[in-house]
């Protein structure tokens, strides 16, 4: 008789890639053979389907309606394709413990298809985590609006929508950058976000991290979730990875003026990654984001891995999350740290204005912080009546700015 020491897990995760972006992400994902993952790529465009891949299947939907062509940016067509394939999708969803959905928001197919799938999954009691990419502003207002609408609808049905914004990445890369390398970088980040979630749940790591813990990370309800990643190799692997994280964080969230409600740090590395390194990474990143109300940490070690990869998920409540948060079970997975609330310094989630879902994404109630000094960071505090005048006035006065 054989006795297995590993706890029996019946977790089955489904990964859906939608459209061209979804397929590219699936192709790049670092998936280990031992993982019990069911992955599929859906599109209505036969050209995108291409050659099938060993680890995920491809299915072209809506052929009878669109004759294997794309949606041409029309969300309604993507929605129609979804309605026409409901049985197929529901059959695929059945039995899944969780679904990861990967897409480029703004496209007609993914914009119309993804919200329907997320809605059916919710009806079936399956949590959905979306990783979506926001288009460039220069792609046009209609595409941006379409992406925003899709993201807002997805937020209501999903555990969370992790967004990677191409505009941010382009600005970060500098004015000299081209769009294509930025898109490739975004796809890399999205695959890293998806891979790290799978790794945390399906691998036995330094800290126990399971689906329940993941749900706690994203139980804010209507929230905005950003993902930042960095990687390094060789002697300075950890330093390099941290530096990349900090670099983007400084650009995207200068001095943490947006207070993070939840943070998940996912760490993947080889045998050389010691506990001291893990602690250093945890402390450095927690300090950078000013100890979010709840932070979670997961680390997985693969002996042959030569790189150190850090992924950071940052969730910010946009309203409606307090209730969800309050009803969440207190039991926290190992690796979680509670930093607690600092009186007077918490961000108040900004509830979306009734009937203006589109606006909710862009609004943040930001609060007084002593270090949002921008270019004045290196100068002495400019104190008058107890306030540092170098910190933007709108931050100190809590004025909402539509970004």
């Amino acid at each position: 008789m054989t006795v297995s020491l590993k706890p029996v897990s019946d977790v089955k995760i489904g990964v859906i890639g939608l459209g061209r972006t979804g397929r590219k992400i699936l192709e790049r994902m670092r998936v280990r053979p031992a993982w019990d993952v069911d992955a599929i790529c859906y599109d209505c465009d036969l050209e995108v389907m291409g050659v099938s891949n060993p680890w995920f299947g491809c299915e072209c939907l809506g052929v009878g309606m669109l004759h294997g062509l794309g949606c041409g940016g029309q969300v309604e067509l993507g929605q129609s394709v979804a309605f026409g394939s409901e049985e197929t999708i529901r059959a695929w969803l059945a039995g899944k413990s969780m679904v990861l959905m990967l897409l480029g928001a703004g496209g007609g197919f993914s914009g119309g298809f993804a919200p329907e799938v997320a809605d059916w999954a919710r009806e079936m009691g399956i949590p959905v985590l979306c990783v979506a990419c926001m288009p460039f502003s220069f792609e046009g207002i209609s595409r941006i609006d379409s992406a925003r609408r899709a993201i807002d609808v997805l937020r209501e049905s999903s555990l969370a929508v992790v967004t990677v914004e191409l505009d941010d990445m382009l600005l970060w890369a500098g004015d000299e950058s081209w769009a294509q390398p930025v898109i490739e970088l975004a796809i890399d980040w999205m695959q890293e976000a998806a891979s790290s979630v799978l790794s945390l749940i399906l691998e036995e790591g330094l800290f126990a991290f399971d689906l329940t813990t993941l749900r706690q990370v994203f139980d804010l309800g209507f929230s905005k979730t950003l993902f930042i990643t960095g990687e390094g190799e060789g002697e300075k692997a950890v330093d390099d990875a941290i530096q990349q994280i900090m670099g983007f964080a400084d650009f995207r969230l200068p001095d943490s003026e947006v207070i993070v409600d939840r943070m998940l740090v996912s760490l993947r590395g080889g045998a050389s990654l010691g506990v001291a390194d893990v602690n250093r990474i945890n402390q450095t990143i927690s300090k950078r984001f000013r100890k979010p109300a709840r932070s979670f940490f997961g680390a997985t070690i693969e002996e042959k891995e030569s790189k150190v990869t850090i992924g950071v998920f940052l969730s910010i409540g946009l309203g409606g999350g307090e209730q969800a948060s309050a009803s969440a079970p207190d039991a926290a997975g190992a690796g979680e740290s509670e930093s607690g609330l600092v009186p007077g310094t918490r961000m108040r989630p900004s509830k979306p204005v009734s009937g203006e879902k589109g606006d909710a994404q862009g609004y943040f109630d930001v609060l007084i912080r002593d270090s949002n000094r921008g270019v004045f960071e290196d100068t002495e505090p400019n104190l008058v009546n107890g306030e540092d005048l170098d910190v933007p006035t709108f931050l100190r006065r809590g004025i909402r700015i539509k970004t």
């Binding site: 460039f136 502003s137 220069f138 207002i141 505009d167 941010d168 382009l170 600005l171 004015d175 950058s177 081209w178 769009a179 650009f251 995207r252 969230l253 200068p254 001095d255 003026e257 949002n372 000094r373 921008g374 270019v375 004045f376 290196d378 100068t379 400019n382 008058v384 005048l389 170098d390 933007p392 006035t393 709108f394 931050l395 006065r397 004025i399 700015i401 539509k402 970004t403």
Partner: protein
């Protein structure tokens, strides 16, 4: 007969370093013969942050000004700013000693001496004593000599500076020219050039809102009643926009210049503007109202701070005055309305004197024009033998020995 003299006036600002070269000739003629304005580096909020960069750009400005004027400058006047400058009213009293109660030099001297008797710490140095009216038995008098009374009171608005900050700025200039003729408070020189004697009599608040600092001076009854500096300026607006929209400094500056408005237009509808407008890669659109809200918050706060600073003097002197503004930030649309509302006085943007050429009719030149006017006054006094200014060495007595 006194010969003509070439003078240079230097303003080391956060955004620009400006120099004006003028020829002074008897009895009090002034001819502007050269100028230069170069982008500033290494200076922020009136302080030198990077000596090498600041020195390079100041020297470049001096060279360009010399080239423009066709003369070599041996010395320079310069202005100073920054919140390291602190001002306070210093008062001294003396009993009139004459048996017939006639005020003499001796009585005034004792009152003045007492008013100036204040020991600053080793890190501070007085840079300016600005005389306020004398009080003879509680009544304001301009010149108390030969008047009758029991008690004479002298008062000065005294401004002192951080010795280290001042020394750094002076060293940069001294490393190019052999001498600094005099140093002026930025607020005073700007106030001098923008206001008329009548305005200073009736009461006027002058604000110079530059890139790094806001200098202000309050006049009443023809006297300087107070001066002040806040380390807030146009750079703060740019920084606020940069933080709000998470965009680089240059992009934020562009938004400020192109769409900056001190008061947002509230109500239905909103305009969206593109950063570059050519739909190129990296172009983004922004809500005009959001831009204006960020700017409005900053400007409203700035005027509130100025109001809070001058209010005790306004109340003490029972002064009803108006406001005049200059500096690059005054290019913001509707800034007069906001200033008027917050300062609770009529506000307008000031203009440089009509006698200067069009190229000098820009806010950035007010400072150096004011310095030149003071220099002309000095020159006239010196050739007429009535010079009152103590000069630089008199102002910062003992400074170099610290």
């Amino acid at each position: 007969m006194a010969s003509s003299q070439y003078i240079g006036a230097l303003d080391m600002g956060t955004a620009k370093v400006s120099i004006l070269v003028a020829e002074l000739s008897p009895p009090s003629r002034l001819k502007i013969i050269g100028r230069a304005m170069v982008p500033s580096r290494g200076i922020r909020k009136g302080r030198v942050l990077n000596v090498r960069e600041a020195t390079t750009c100041v020297h470049r400005a001096i060279r360009e000004a010399e080239k423009s004027a066709g003369v070599n400058l041996k010395s320079l006047y310069m202005s100073i700013s920054g919140s390291h400058l602190k001002g306070e009213l210093q008062v001294g009293k003396a009993q009139v000693s004459h048996s017939a109660r006639i005020v003499t030099d001796y009585d005034v001297g004792r009152a003045v001496e007492e008013a100036k008797r204040r020991d600053l710490g080793p890190d501070r140095v007085f840079v300016q004593y600005i005389r306020n009216p004398f009080l003879l038995d509680g009544k304001k008098v301009d010149e108390p000599y030969s008047l009758r009374g029991n008690e004479i009171q002298a008062s000065f608005w005294a401004v002192h500076a951080d010795a280290r900050v001042l020394r750094e700025q002076m060293q940069i200039v001294n490393s190019f020219v052999s001498r600094i003729d005099d140093i002026f408070l930025s607020s005073l020189v700007v106030g001098r050039v923008l206001t008329s004697e009548e305005q200073r009599q009736s009461g006027v608040l002058v604000l110079d809102i530059g890139a790094g600092t806001t200098d202000f001076v309050l006049y009443g009854d023809g006297y300087v009643l107070m001066t002040g500096v806040l380390d807030v300026g146009g750079d703060h607006i740019t920084n606020d926009l940069s933080v709000a929209f998470k965009i680089p400094w240059e992009s934020a500056e562009r938004l400020k210049v192109d769409y900056g408005k001190a008061t947002p237009v509230e109500g239905a509808g909103d305009d969206w503007v593109w950063l570059r407008g050519d739909l190129s890669i990296g172009d983004r659109r922004f809500s005009k109202r959001a831009i204006q809200r960020v700017i409005h918050a900053r400007m409203e706060e700035l005027f509130q701070l100025v109001r809070r600073a001058v209010l005790p003097v306004l109340e003490r002197e029972d002064l009803r005055c108006s406001a005049l503004m200059t500096g690059g930030v005054t290019r913001l649309t509707a800034i007069e309305n906001l200033a008027g509302q917050v300062l609770k006085m009529p506000a307008a943007t000031g203009r440089n004197p009509d006698w200067v050429i069009n190229e000098l009719q820009v806010p950035e030149m007010s400072n150096v024009l004011g310095q030149v006017q003071f220099a002309l006054q000095d020159y006239s006094d010196s050739i007429s033998g009535s010079r009152k200014s103590p000069g630089l060495l008199g102002k910062v007595k003992g400074f170099w020995s610290k």
